[in-house]
Symmetry: C2
Subunit: 725 residues, 2 copies
């Protein structure tokens, strides 16, 4: 009997207990885990954070924080309590080792301390070890309560990443962009267009009566990054969202987010009054239409006094818009802008448009339509421009509109959810992709895209950035643990568009997985190589839009039968016996001419075009000589192979991390990396099989042939892929 | 400053901490919470459960249980560890106070102990305080490992509900039905038809590589009730589910459930081979078709050796079936049965059918079509019959088919998800509804429906029961805490169809909320009144199918414009100036004739028909005299008012429970009860407004008039209601 028992005994001692205790490192806590620090660090930090001093009124006991200060104190108690193993008490007066949250209003003494708070603006904060009323304290100072909340999260972050002690703390930070907004492509039936993390977190059906506690955790996570706005519903919007029952639902969400400094916005369908039968047209110049929108705005602001405004997708992919009435985008945007202006609301008007007519190059259309409108938009309109001119590809050159509309506030639109980068399954850290765009010098004299966004438009203070959310109801929020990093990186870059992607990766890894230097270094290295791996096995050398039709999952470079030419991958790669690539120079669509001369010249010549974007701008013969000395065909094969090899490398690095990562999340990630490896091989093999079929070229010695014939890859169908919306 | 601080201090000490620690009583643990018992009880129980003795091989360390014995030991350690505050160690040999899990195979000594194990069958168990090898132990004995798992859950349940000590334990139990199955109406895109608890827990997209840990917790919850099968996909099925990639996904789920004794079944679309282009027809008598199904079954059993079989919805609501080829339901079922028979699989063929032609009474169709087929089905076919003849209404008389097909194994189909009873929002304990049907004497000489199900068919051992699951991805599994009770009650009744609904409610309440007698009593009383409340404010006195079109949410008795007459509420209530109700006697559709004479006579006369079903069987004048002495019109109004009053009563009872229930779940339930109250008032007002408009009768003194005019209620639309599937 003993014999038979031994293995069972062994099993049970080793068996993980968390099957039911779902919360143990299941990813729900995001980067706000606040797990205990090692003893030495704890002692050091406790000396500077042993109590909390705050000011201001309180909400009724038992309820969630009702103000930013209450939220800040609650988070400091939760965070320090977790990190230090003991929740710091609230102190009734300033004492040694206290964390003091103060504004000039709550503590007039600050004004005399030469803290230069005026440089912080409304949302900035100051962290300083200093003496206050004769006591050594850790001061969190700001001009407003929301600044104190941001400062408190910054303090917890510093401690969480195991930064040097707080003894000589002296740090100040203010956001460089005004509107830092998430765009939820969430539908009213709770499906999420391009969502890969389960259904929408907005439980519309149960709202407004039922407010999911998750809304508050969502607010905490966003506030910890400085995100201060969220568009609740899909840009492909419905008239319903602007009816009374739905305004009440949005108001309930707004109430949950308000204490964390997050404003609610709504996507508006341009034809709403017409579709609701309130008007006979949606013509923006029709007085009845303008009056309806004005009344509607007034109605919304009655329930949501700090409503942010409207996001609009018009005359794009079949959505209605002002052009249906031969009016311009400016006519449409300004009509809406006048409706929200009295309430200090804004209109975020998307530049992602493409007409129904066959375009000579889809990449040119946004610029062609919007550039001429520069200076014609009302003061409270922002034009929201995607990072690239096509559509959230693994790599795109910066959109030519950046720097081209000096008199119009432009807002960046990044995609956080990985529509074209392997859904939530593939590990692809997008911080590097965001930084690549933000760091691009547009040669307009205004510097990089980041600097252009920060400077804003002539005579306007309005600046902003948007990220299409990757958030859903799945326990880990983003569909995979590593996808949380893209939410994090977007938020931190929204605060400071010139931040460094590697530094942000390090920050995130330390808070999310482990502050152990070996773990941080390894996880960061994986993240930094991850997006380039995806580019290599999906769309190397500037190739783009080769994904499966509709669902955008997996390779389909052969698709040529879709109604619109610019929906077909063949439209983008143009591969034939002679060569491959999209000629966007003067001999082709001349899209390069949309860039400032300096950049246009660079992109016009394959020799000065970065090889990473070579086939985006040029159609080249298969034997084109690359910098490596290889022929283009050979180089293409090398890139595909390196993409697969990089995933294998990530997989091995992760395996080595096992001793440093909690068992559950380590296994979760390991399973996904195996899946990603299989899919990388699939991308490589299908792409090579196809391009070989058009180039007719042999595979050089040493290049592994695709595992299956081309027809097999063509036969794969995914009718139930997520995210169709 | 001190002054200003005090309230903030108060707030923070009181603020609930669980915003992020989602697991603290968020409902995820279901009835398997295993929270610590009070000290006295703990001491008493520890004496009889201080260690665990088990036999058998073990799975590799770190992985989940790989066999029922491993699952039993893991659950006992988790459960006793939680309840007693200390995890009982595994003992290498029998000792005093040990819990011993043994079968005659693992412990031959049992055979000599006169335990009458032969009466337990394959799945039953015995719990007994006895002496073993000279030691006082708590013995869990069974004929098979799965019996040991069921016995272990039974032991934990006894302890969890604070039953008397284990000193004189002597209990045996065996399931009275063979197949105890959940039906998931889950679609391949992860939506759930009639699902109100978020999207499907089956993450089809990530399967088979990614196996959500939740699958194991799902298996634990079901095994704790004795559920031994699950149909993974919607009865409105797709051909895809029977293709290789999906079989692999189903096999991965089956691997997760197998150690818990749960078999996987699939819903099959009758036209699958035709739609996949493998055959030119789906005619069940076509040899090519039969051959395809045989090969398909062989393919499935290669990946899922213990595959349960197929569930089929054919020639119903537009689904394809054998009648498309002028074959009978038996022809179709038997063809599939022959494909799975070599593998010991079964076919569960649904009797929920209604033709495209205008019926004289939809309630009659299932009986009319299936009764003549009695005795013509293969031995491994079960006909699955809904509890009532219409469609999962708040109250229906038992289906006339029960007892009418003595030569055919009939399976009961209950609906656990509340399609017609207020979704997850309304508190409605269905244990009483299930018991009402199961306890109905069909007057066929075979006793009650429960007894008919238990006895099975002539010369067949095949018996079973199915429940349409209310399980989804929401953290609390069922969309609300109280809806977990319907999953629980179904499972326990599947084990013993003659169990008492109140006893099950008590069990569930004690394990789920609190074992404190005051809490158990109050929660049980709320549950026992809850379903009658729903009947009263929705469909009193035998009214049925008055719900909104399609989504079935809210009142719509006025709907008369739908294509099929039997889709319209007016078809069912037939209210006019003269009276109300559906005449199913000889003067009407004569559906009563489908019941055995004893029951038919009772239902044929309004005087002998229970008032709860009066208008189901009879069309009566508004001034018909009720037992109460009131006129029918007045009685109807009284019932609507009492339904609203009962919800208000539940709300007040729950409020009084606040000191006894954890704060988070108490608030969750309180919010839903408020919403239910509003919706009960809505049902009452809209129904009265409508019936008054057709009866033309005044409201008696003291009856409150509807809050809004009828047109308002007619104007309400719910285009984004969940569960459309």
């Amino acid at each position: 009997m003993f014999k038979a028992l031994m293995p069972l005994l062994a099993l049970l001692l080793a068996m993980p207990a968390h099957a039911v205790q779902g919360a143990t490192e299941d990813g729900y806590d995001l980067w706000l885990r606040y797990r205990p620090m090692d003893k030495a660090a704890r002692v050091q930090v406790r000396a500077a954070a042993s109590s909390i001093v705050a000011f201001g009124p309180a909400a009724p006991a038992g309820s969630a924080p009702a103000s930013p200060v209450q939220a800040a104190v609650a988070e400091l108690q939760r965070g320090l309590g977790g990190l230090l193993g003991k929740e710091p008490p609230l102190a009734a007066s300033v004492q040694d080792g206290a964390v003091v949250l103060a504004t000039p209003a709550s503590m007039p003494a600050l004004s005399g301390m030469d803290l230069k708070l005026e440089t912080l603006g409304r949302e900035g904060y100051l962290l300083r070890s200093t003496r206050l009323q004769g006591h050594k304290v850790t001061l969190v100072a700001a001009n407003s309560d929301i600044g104190l909340l941001y400062g408190s999260y910054a303090l917890l972050r510093k401690i969480g990443i195991g930064a040097e002690g707080l003894a000589a703390l002296d740090e100040r930070s203010a956001p460089k962009l005004q509107l830092r907004v998430l765009n939820h492509w969430d539908n009213l039936d709770r499906t999420v267009e391009r969502g890969y993390a389960g259904e929408s977190i907005w439980n519309w059906w149960a709202l407004p009566e039922v407010r999911d506690r998750r809304y508050v955790d969502y607010a905490r996570a966003n506030a910890s990054l400085g995100i201060n706005g969220t568009v609740l519903n899909n840009v492909n919007s419905k008239p319903d969202i602007l009816t009374a029952p739905w305004i009440a639902k949005a108001a309930a969400v707004a109430d949950s987010l308000r204490p964390y400094g997050i404003k609610v916005y709504l996507s508006a369908r341009f034809s709403t009054p017409l579709e609701l039968g309130a008007t006979k047209t949606a013509d923006p110049l029709d007085p009845a239409v303008a009056a309806w929108w004005k009344a509607k705005a007034d109605e919304i602001y009655k329930s949501i006094p700090d409503f942010g405004g409207f996001l609009v997708k018009a005359n794009s992919e079949g959505q209605p818009g002002p052009q249906d009435y031969h009016r311009s985008h400016a006519d449409g945007a300004n009509m809406l802008a006048k409706a929200v202006a009295p309430h200090k609301g804004v209109v975020m008007w998307r530049a992602f448009v493409y007409a129904h007519e066959k375009p000579d190059d889809r990449a040119k259309q946004a610029y062609s339509e919007f550039k001429p409108l520069d200076g014609t938009f009302d003061a409270n309109v922002l034009v929201q421009v995607k990072n690239g001119a096509i559509d959230f590809q693994p790599r795109e050159p910066a959109h030519p509109l950046f720097g081209a509309m000096p008199n119009t506030p432009l807002m960046m639109e990044f995609q956080i959810t990985k529509e074209y980068l392997g859904y939530a399954t593939h590990l692809a850290y997008l911080g590097t992709m965001y930084q690549e765009t933000l760091g691009t010098d547009m040669h307009t004299g205004a510097g990089t895209v980041a600097q252009i966004l920060e400077a804003g438009a002539q005579g306007s203070k309005l600046t902003g950035i948007a990220g299409v959310a990757n958030i859903g109801s799945e326990r880990n929020w983003s569909g995979s643990h590593f996808d949380q990093a893209n939410w994090y990186a977007f938020g931190r870059l929204a605060w400071n568009p010139q931040a460094d992607a590697r530094a942000l990766a390090r920050e995130w890894a330390a808070q999310t997985f482990s502050a152990a230097p070996a773990a941080v270094a390894q996880v960061t290295d994986m993240m930094m190589m991850s997006r380039e791996a995806v580019v290599n096995y999906m769309t190397p050398l500037g190739l783009h839009h080769l994904m499966g039709t509709g669902h955008h999952h997996g390779p389909a470079p052969w698709v040529a039968n879709l109604e619109r030419p610019d929906w077909n991958p063949v439209y983008y790669h143009r591969a034939d016996k002679g060569g491959i690539g999209f000629d966007r120079t003067a001999t082709g669509s001349n899209a390069v001419a949309q860039y400032a001369p300096g950049l246009a010249r660079q992109y016009a010549d394959p020799r000065s075009t970065p090889e990473t974007m070579l086939l985006w701008f040029h159609h080249l013969p298969w034997d084109y000589k690359m910098a490596s000395g290889r022929k283009l065909w050979e180089e293409l094969l090398v890139r595909y192979d390196s993409g697969v090899a990089q995933v294998d490398d990530m997989r091995q690095r992760w395996a080595r991390l096992k001793p440093l990562i909690d068992a559950r999340r380590h296994e979760d990630v390991a399973v996904l990396l195996d899946k990603q490896y299989q899919e990388a091989v699939w991308w490589r093999d299908a792409s090579i099989a196809y391009f070989q079929s058009v180039s007719g070229l042999a595979l050089p010695a040493g290049v592994k042939a695709p595992g299956m014939p081309l027809d097999y890859y063509k036969s794969l169908k995914f009718p139930y892929a997520p995210g169709r919306g």
